[in-house]
Symmetry: C2
Subunit: 248 residues, 2 copies
DNA sequence: ACAAAAGTGTTTTTTATACACCCATGC
DNA sequence: GCATGGGTGTATAAAAAACACTTTTGT
């Protein structure tokens, strides 16, 4: 097949060299402080260049034989202890020059970032701190300038979280086993912003769906009538899976 | 700062070598054949190993100094001529061993795929064919076994397309400048499947939204009353941007 | 008693769904 | 005339949104 061989030769002549990549993963880990009604994101202080002494998303470079997810879970396990963490892929940022380590020699190795996100229980999440590494929950509303393009990644993650809350039961992964309807409502308002819904209607719709069961146990928080504690029933939720906009 | 230096040393000792990556992009390009009401996907025949003589999504490896998007647009421009193409990032597949080129030496270079997707106008899209490279529109319903994990990527793209159609005006990028409401309805049914909505209600809702203007021009297709040709008014659509579920 | 928080109910408006039916054309 | 596809309208049900009101607690 002469045409094929000829084509192959011109291809080789036309072809620019391929880029060599290191691949990083960066995690956008949210939690909700239900007492102060603040949406928090996990940040770590960088201790090496580039961007030394800047806050950044917890990330790492992918090692040999390691999948992207494995790397994401690995770095997370180094920073935080938490049960039942589920990471979801967010977006891949890979333009040239997004990492200053590329700048010096423009045709050297490239740095690509695959971002993941998760929502964890604030109370259960135990930050792993040592003398050298700064690590903290930061209110999303006032995160500082971050390393690399991490502000952009965070903004993207925040939007995804808001969407996810609207059609999937992530809220119950982050609330305690039993919770009051007001706890749930507060969670939604802190993530989605004020006036997303009237409390009374929120309540009525959610109870009608039938996957929240009243434990009968009452809990009194300061003044006011005691609230019922509810439990999320995963089985009863099953029929609503993948059906968009169950709430809101 | 002795603690810092000590930490740095143990880090180096603990650290496995980083993986080296080549990064590929793979495009899931859909179009709709409005005469036969079929959803199509663009496939190319591979002419080199691995997976020689298998159909695959059109893809390429990222070159030096090239962004991910650039690479995606480059390979597309080699396969198809079309106006106003907008690519959207889909997902990143990066497990080890997803590419058989890794298998021989497990700790050699890794292959990662960032996928993009788009919906193009079938009539305007001109496939660039030569004697050696097979290229074709394949009905999504009966795509064969593809190279690599491309069936998985395609399935992911199909789901994304269905979602996108429900809350964004992509349909008007793929329809001709003027179209009948039935053309629009057919497009939705071929992508979303039968019985997603009654035609009459689909029509009423869409007209009420007010971003479709009747040109007054009538067109007769065979028997039956001639239909009005409509035009999409991007300005009038603006207020609905980012508001989920405008239709359906 | 009163404020505060929980929970119930009611009214109004909007949207979804399923049709029935009229209109304009080709054959 | 009548089949065919285009287009309009209507009745019913369901959901969304606004808000008034009752209940039960702490102080």
């Amino acid at each position: 097949m002469p045409g094929y061989n000829q084509r192959k030769i011109t291809d080789v002549l036309n072809q620019q060299p391929l880029a060599d990549f290191k691949v990083g993963v960066d995690n956008v880990i949210f939690s909700v402080d239900t007492t102060l009604n603040r949406l928090l994101v996990l940040l770590v202080m960088r201790r090496q260049e580039p961007f030394q002494d800047h806050w950044s998303l917890p990330g790492t470079l992918v090692r040999q034989g390691e999948s992207l997810e494995d790397a994401a879970y690995r770095i997370l396990a180094e920073k935080i202890r938490v049960n039942n963490l589920y990471l979801e892929q967010l977006y891949t940022f890979g333009g040239p020059l997004r990492d200053p380590r590329e700048a010096s020699d423009c045709y050297g190795v490239r740095y690509l970032s695959v971002s993941y996100f998760a929502l964890v229980r604030f109370e259960e999440a135990e930050l792993i701190t040592d003398k050298v590494t700064g690590i903290a929950w930061y209110p999303v509303k006032d995160v500082p300038q971050l390393a690399f393009d991490h502000n952009e990644i965070l903004a993207y993650g925040h939007r995804r979280l808001q969407n996810k809350l609207e059609y999937s039961p992530v809220a119950f992964d982050v609330l305690p086993e039993v919770f009051t309807l007001n706890d749930l409502y507060q969670l939604y308002t802190t993530v989605l912003g004020e006036n997303f819904s009237d409390y009374s209607n929120f309540r009525a719709r959610l109870l009608k769906l039938g996957f929240l069961c009243d434990t009968g146990i009452k809990v009194s928080r300061g003044a006011g009538r005691p609230a019922s504690l509810y439990r999320f029933d995963a089985e009863a939720f099953a029929p609503f899976k993948n059906k968009p906009l169950v709430f809101i």
